[in-house]
Symmetry: C2
Subunit: 133 residues, 2 copies
DNA sequence: CTGAGTGCAAACGTTTTGCACTTGC
DNA sequence: GCAAGTGCAAAACGTTTGCACTCAG
């Protein structure tokens, strides 16, 4: 039984081959946008519809299997939910690197100063990566 | 002569009443999305078109007068360009607070570790604000 | 006076929906 | 067998564009 079959089932989703392929591609790309996902999934399922991709992405987001990452100046990408992390974005090759940034001190500080209950941080650092410099 | 007239002119944009009203509303709201902007600008200019708003927002972004802020789970908002800052977002009332966060240490650290030339950081902390708790 | 901006309608790209058919379980 | 998922076409959205008219400078 496929690796993703269980994951999907435990999230109240049927393990269809299309969904397994979506998850496989997201994992292998790390981060992927809808268009690239569609292009690549067609290699295996030529007749898949964009509607199916949207429905599945949305279903998996609702079931907390996936996360949308909004980026400056480009389309959102999707990733599987892992531990909390931030993103490094190259403005030239558009590659995205996951990074671990410890901003707990900052969050505590801001929480106190503003009497805010912070439960989430979205940080994108952008610039030019090593290869593109 | 209106406050915004100069700003617009120094950014190669003609100071039309519509643009002045857009800037006035953005300043008074702090952060505003397209729909709210449209609703509010109609109080003064009933016949303004959404196309005009989009054209102007885009023109002002290109001329570095405005900035788009992408937010998790909701539409982007626009703000005038000030010094670099981050955002605190309340998931209940959707209010946004500008905050100053010193992440230079973090940026230096990440830059070195990844040999990345970082020139921009987008940070949104979200949770529940004081009033909504 | 002239080029830039406005407002309308139409076009466009993206995402969602309805529905008949298929499939996972 | 039945609810859930797929794929198609159509609809719905949000945004942009073309064009005649108007206005800022």
């Amino acid at each position: 039984m496929n690796n993703y079959t269980n994951i999907l089932r435990t999230h109240n989703l049927k393990a269809t081959p299309q969904r397994i392929e979506i998850l496989t591609l997201i994992e292998s790309f790390g981060h992927i946008n809808i268009d690239t996902l569609y292009e690549n999934i067609k290699h295996k399922y030529q007749s898949i519809s964009l509607a199916t991709i949207y429905k599945n992405i949305n279903a998996m987001i609702k079931e907390k299997l996936l996360l949308e990452v909004k980026l400056p100046n480009q389309k959102s990408v999707y990733e599987t939910i892992k531990h909390n992390h931030s993103h490094l974005l190259c403005n030239k090759c558009h590659n995205i690197i996951d990074i671990d940034v410890d901003i707990n001190n900052i969050i505590d500080d801001i929480s106190n100063k503003n009497q805010f209950k912070i439960d989430k941080s979205d940080l994108v650092l952008s610039g030019i990566c090593k290869n593109c410099q």
